[in-house]
């Protein structure tokens, strides 16, 4: 654990922001105020944060339908992101994308993607800037265990390996592809092993532990920047909630949910590690907690009180203005 105090506080802030944001979204969804489907990232905060904390704004990520956490970890504007999830005119995408298609290109967040696995080739494409223009750039694809079975993901790993592109394939193995368990859906059961088969270094680690993720990310990013090609990181994660909000989760036991929330809370694990090592005082973390709650509450209130897009916007942004 050789991270600076600032970096540790930054990491905690990003993880906690995801947690508070998603809990607020859960409550808002239950109240019926969120106009689109949402998929919560709670339980996986250490993964997005551990990866993105090693990236710059010039580095890019491509995300999944479960993308709120990736947005926050990549430092998207919280207010504009919240507005987008509420499909408002001033949201990041003008209200046309919503939760499952949220993007913030200003910080290299190339978009959530509602087609499972389809974001992998897009990340490979962003990485081509290193080859074509010689730009210093790392590109990350976040991929669920369900998406790991898609042909698009296999093709992407192969292409990135063949072309030696600076891509991190980050597999968030939360054990469920929608309502289907990994023991059923993943032949061989070893996602990292599959990646290794494409000739890239791969890691399999505890995705509830920020430090495990961050350490692997730092190595993989370094290799990518040096032009040494792609890596894969399989993070064993816990999905605290259903596939989407409203999923009654008949396929999981109460005991499972109690156990993961007790033993695999990325925030608790982080706090224990930094407090025990005397790196950060719990008072400082408590202050962050309070601040984030008020930030998120304010963002949600602002979003709810902001206007939906004008109906005249229905057919705009399809093509470049004036070209069609």
């Amino acid at each position: 654990m050789q991270l600076s105090r600032d970096k540790l506080l930054d990491a905690y802030t990003r993880m906690k922001k995801i947690r508070v944001f998603e809990e607020t979204m859960r409550d808002e969804f239950a109240k019926g105020t969120v106009p689109a489907f949402i998929h919560l990232y709670i339980g996986q905060e250490a993964i997005a944060t551990g990866i993105c904390i090693e990236l710059t704004d010039q580095d890019t990520i491509s995300s999944t339908h479960r993308g709120h956490g990736h947005c926050i970890a990549k430092n998207s504007n919280l207010e504009k992101m919240t507005m987008e999830i509420f499909c408002r005119a001033d949201g990041l995408c003008g209200g046309k994308g919503g939760s499952m298609h949220i993007a913030d290109l200003s910080v290299g967040m190339l978009g959530a993607n509602a087609i499972v696995g389809a974001n992998a080739p897009i990340a490979v494409g962003a990485a081509l800037k290193q080859r074509v223009l010689g730009e210093d750039l790392v590109s990350v694809a976040f991929i669920g265990d369900g998406a790991s079975n898609q042909g698009a993901v296999f093709e992407s790993m192969n292409l990135a390996s063949v072309l030696k592109l600076p891509v991190l394939f980050v597999f968030e193995n939360n054990g469920y592809a929608e309502f289907t368990g990994i023991d059923y859906h993943c032949g061989g059961g070893d996602i990292a092993g599959r990646a290794e088969g494409f000739g890239m270094p791969s890691y399999k680690l505890d995705g509830s532990d920020f430090f495990a993720v961050q350490e692997a990310a730092a190595e993989a990013v370094d290799r990518a920047r040096k032009g040494e090609g792609p890596s894969a990181i399989e993070c064993i994660a816990k999905r605290w909630y259903g596939h989407f909000e409203g999923d009654p989760q008949h396929y999981r036991t109460k005991e499972e949910l109690e156990t993961i929330r007790r033993d695999f809370d990325p925030l608790t694990i982080f706090r224990q590690k930094v407090e025990e090592a005397g790196l950060v005082d719990s008072k400082d973390l408590n202050l962050i907690d309070e601040d984030l709650l008020s930030q998120v509450t304010a963002a949600v209130e602002k979003a709810k009180n902001s206007p939906l897009p004008n109906v005249e916007e229905l057919t705009t942004n399809v093509y470049e203005k004036g070209s069609y």
Binding site: K96, A103, L105, A118, I122, A126, L128, A152, N158, V318
Partner: protein, 337 residues
Amino acid sequence: MSIKTYRESIIEAMILEMKRDEKVFVIGEDISGGRGCGDYEGEAAGGPMGLTQGLWDEFGAKRVIDTPISETAIMGAAAGAALSGLRPIAELMFSDFFGVCFDQIYNQAAKFRFMYGEQGATPLVIRTMIGAGIGCGPQHSQSPYSIFANIPGLKVVTPSNPYDAKGLLIASIRDNDPVMFCEHKALLGMEGEVPDDAYEVPLGKGKIIKEGNDITIVAIGQMVGITQSCVSKFEEKGISAEIIDPRSLSPFDEEIVYDSVEKTGRLLVIDESNPVCSFGSWITSMVSDEVFSSLKAPTRVLTPPHCPVPAAPNLEAAYLPDLDRIVEATDYLANYS
């Protein structure tokens, strides 16, 4: 100005644009060929149909990127590269292969501008081979441009001659939206006068190939040349046909067709698509909506029958609209009263 083939015009357009803009690059299968074959370092093929010949020698591996046979990864990487500020030319060797990679084209590239609220452009050209006529059979001969044109966010062009091939490709590369550039395989060797410098044929501008007063014939892609070869037969029958090449299906030059139909009162479309929901049927639908009162006869679309493209030469010949069918349909509509 010099005589160039359709193929040479396409290659020249890419070379000129790659020289002009370092962000332009080409990605696809065997576009140089020979990679990974021992010590071989040259260009083994320049594309299976020779459409990227010479690029490797001029620009090398950084901008002429040979890939594994992975159309989804190619199209998706091109989409992601475009969203990130590069200007890819991605080759989908045969348009029939869209079946394995269409998600990246129609759910991703075509939608980025809209679903990400204008945050980024998608300046992507997908060069792809269409068409029947040279015996490639059911999975290498189709003309799925009507399917492409159905997708909001995609632009679709169908050059029918070397001049338009070069000018449309340059315009497509400079365009800030994804363009499906449909090259017709039966036209690759076609020769014509083509300027040596760069020039644009604007997307969405059709062209009157031949003026006439009795009937408007809109022909797409390969069908333009076949329709032109019918002109002496039309004249023998005393029919003055106006022939229009739309050149671009999306955006589509509606005005050039409406103006012509207002003059002639009759419309025939010759289209290599499958007949059901063909692009031709969309043209006749628009004409019925907009200039119905000018029509003196029903509109008609001439397409192949609703079947896959056959391999047998006699069946393939029977499949495509030919001189006899075009003359017959033109004669029928011109004399309809």
